[in-house]
Symmetry: C2
Subunit: 449 residues, 2 copies
């Protein structure tokens, strides 16, 4: 049998999706349990393949072609990663069904009822980095929410992900859900071909760099839910608590920009800087914050090596290491404007004891997450209570921030006439019947069997 083409794969996914529409949600939960068993049964084989991926990666690291970070992410047997991956499947299985719930219901006329009902989106094409456990996380969320999925992991994890996908299909085969409900692909060429097939694929979910997300957006008509990197900020307000101001930047290895209200430059800032330098954080400082440090700590040991003047471009860079770009601004309003201009609209936090400043910050900052006295690292599907996550959406359409099951459903409208003669629209209008639009209080569609 020749290998399936991208077109075959996409068409099979759409067929699997449509065929599964009448399968009850309980079968989807059952499928997750079967998949967990199937993975457990293939553990030795999968970890062996994972070892091969790791060996190949180690050679690449030695040759200087791959980072240590990437290598570490490959290992499926590190710590409790395997067990928590399997537990995650059961956790997702036990979450409430995200489909079938009614978000709007209205009686348009006697016996004519309208319902807006959550339903799956369709076929998802998910592209992600070389982290094999993501195959299982995303397959679990897709199945639970009733979506078919085509998965493409980073090529460095191909051996592992192929076997994971095989186990997932084997689990599905024990249920009424079609085996091709979840498929995996290995090559970029397949991705390119799939991006053309908007008749079969309903949503592309790329996880990775801004450039990956942009390149996919540039090459498809299919809607894209991008999960790009975050450029996050912390603003230390004039009414900040000094202890919290010290804690947050140090704890937030995911923060890029530290913004200081100018009234605290000579009071709170030196203590914050001291803590950061002790934690070996590199500081790129604007002239005001730099001068304040020079005045206070001419003799601090790490100053010379860790503190350097910032450039204009310093505030648009995702450092991805222990570096903070620091800027002093004259007001909360100017801090909000600065964040809206420089952040990636991911997650930003204010340190303040003022309720008014907190409220203005949360309204004014145009990001998926706006926090008060809390670290930006809380932006995570598990921490938010979603069990696991597809990723953190940096778009603002459909789903924003950490995406769980809710982000993988859309809705459809169902309408039923119970009137003896049915309903036609021509009966309504000026001088004819008027719409009632009586709100109905229900969470399910009463006529669905």
């Amino acid at each position: 049998m020749p290998a399936p083409t991208a077109h075959d794969i996409a068409k099979a996914a759409k067929n699997a999706f449509q065929d599964a529409q009448l399968i009850p949600a309980s079968e989807r939960a059952k499928a997750l349990h079967e998949i967990q068993l199937s993975l457990q049964a293939s553990k030795v084989e999968i970890l062996q393949a994972n070892q091969e991926d790791i060996k190949a990666a180690e050679a690449e690291v030695k040759a200087g072609n791959m980072s240590e970070t990437l290598l570490k992410r490959l290992d499926l047997n590190k710590g409790d990663k395997w067990d928590s991956m399997l537990q995650g499947i059961l956790d997702v299985a036990s979450l409430p069904d995200p489909t079938g719930t009614v978000s709007y219901a209205s009686e348009l006329d006697d016996g004519l009822e309208l319902y807006r009902v959550a339903c799956p989106i369709g076929v998802l094409l998910v592209i992600f980095e070389a982290r094999p456990e993501v195959v299982v996380n995303i397959a679990s969320l897709a199945i639970k929410s009733g979506n078919a999925a085509i998965l493409k992991g980073g090529k460095e994890s191909n051996r592992t992900t192929t076997l994971l996908a095989k186990s997932i299909s084997a689990g599905l085969a024990k249920t009424a859900i079609p085996e091709l409900y979840v498929q995996s692909i290995q090559t970029r060429a397949e991705v390119s071909s799939l991006l053309e097939l908007d008749e079969y694929i309903d949503l592309v979910i790329p996880r990775g760099s801004n450039s990956l997300v942009k390149s996919i957006q540039n090459n498809t008509r299919i809607p894209v839910m991008g999960h790009a990197d975050g450029l996050c900020s912390i603003f230390i307000d004039q009414e900040a608590d000094v202890t919290k101001a010290i804690d947050y930047p140090a704890a937030c290895n995911s923060v890029e920009n530290l913004i200081l209200h100018d009234s605290i430059v000579n009071t709170v800032w030196p203590s914050v800087a001291k803590a950061l330098l002790e934690a070996n954080v590199k500081l790129l400082c604007d002239p005001t914050s730099l001068n304040a440090l020079k005045t206070c700590f001419s003799a601090l040991p790490n100053m010379e090596t860790l503190v350097t003047p910032s450039e204009l471009s310093s505030y648009d860079v995702e450092h991805l290491n222990l570096t903070l770009s620091v800027i002093v601004l004259p007001s909360l309003r100017s801090a909000i404007q600065f964040i809206n201009a420089h952040s990636s609209h991911h997650t930003d936090s204010i340190v303040t004891e003022s309720d008014e400043a907190a409220s203005i910050f949360c309204r004014g900052v145009d990001s998926a997450g706006t926090y008060v006295n809390a670290s930006t690292r809380f932006a995570d599907g598990f921490r938010y209570g979603f069990g696991t996550e597809v990723g953190i959406s940096t778009g603002r359409i459909h789903a924003r921030g950490p995406v769980g099951l809710d982000g993988l459903v859309t809705y459809k409208y169902m309408m039923k006439s119970q009137a003896p003669s049915g309903h036609i629209a021509a009966e309504f209008g000026t001088g004819k019947k008027q719409y009632k639009h009586n709100k109905l209080h229900t969470t399910t569609v009463p006529f669905l069997i």
Copy 2:
């Protein structure tokens, strides 16, 4: 002053959006009242410009360059169009504020609360046909939902839409909302330039043909909420009520495909066909439905002129006139498969007295609207109870079907620590604090002032 470039327009829109984030929702309702007054005050001037648009269009119709339908849509003074346009503004003003409502709230830890809050999307670029009242409908919905908007109507209505936009700005000028919150543009070149500016524009909403929507999707990274034409179907089930079966197809000038269960070809279908032919509906019939008619009505007057054999492509065409493509299929399942393969996923209806068939149809048909014994013409924002509509989305991401205020909002997450020492993520994990994830029952964010 030189005319603003597309970049100026987009940047001004984003600034207007961000500046308006702290303005209370009551000011947005006030703005709608001011706009209504401003339009009323400029009525003579606007209708004069509208007359000029109509005169130019009449010349085009005479020259054979424009359809009568397009000409008719231009007239802002026809019937009660002007008054109902103005009443529509007040109706939208009185709808509940779609922003600020909480759809998910969770206590992650003592004193650490997370809220998912509805908020505006940002800057909308809306492209629509030459129907001047749409400027006012969409501006009303955008303002009420807190979005800035750039509007481009069909060029045939340019004189009218320019003055409508001027009145809208004059109304906004009497409020705290920036005047450039709603801007209008006139040329396709401006649209092309704006489609590049994903840093300023958050959502493109094109209304029009499938080819317009596809062309925009092909030329932008910005998310697109397409409002293309609908290709709708009615399925007459084996358990259809004959009267309803006769009523619906005749009443649905928006239906393209009529699907018949084969068990009713010689019973219900002849009566349906008779009613359709009496209503001058052209029928493109597959062999089975055609033979049934020939057997029953060899002598029916309209048969010769109105009934012709269908082709394979007949079921993928939007007729946009009194034409129906007819096909006979052996089962409900095959009808669902046929609809999913041929419909534009807009609105489809079943005529049946069977609760089971109704339920299977509504689950199985993958369209924005699935109806039982009701005409597909009910798919409309006003009829659904949304006041008015942006259009009927034929995409399935973010908003589907008729789009009202709910379709123009997204959400953000707000988190606040009330704990004396604030919250950092490093406090949680194995052997440390565990997340509580206690559901909070609230519809608003308590700490927003």
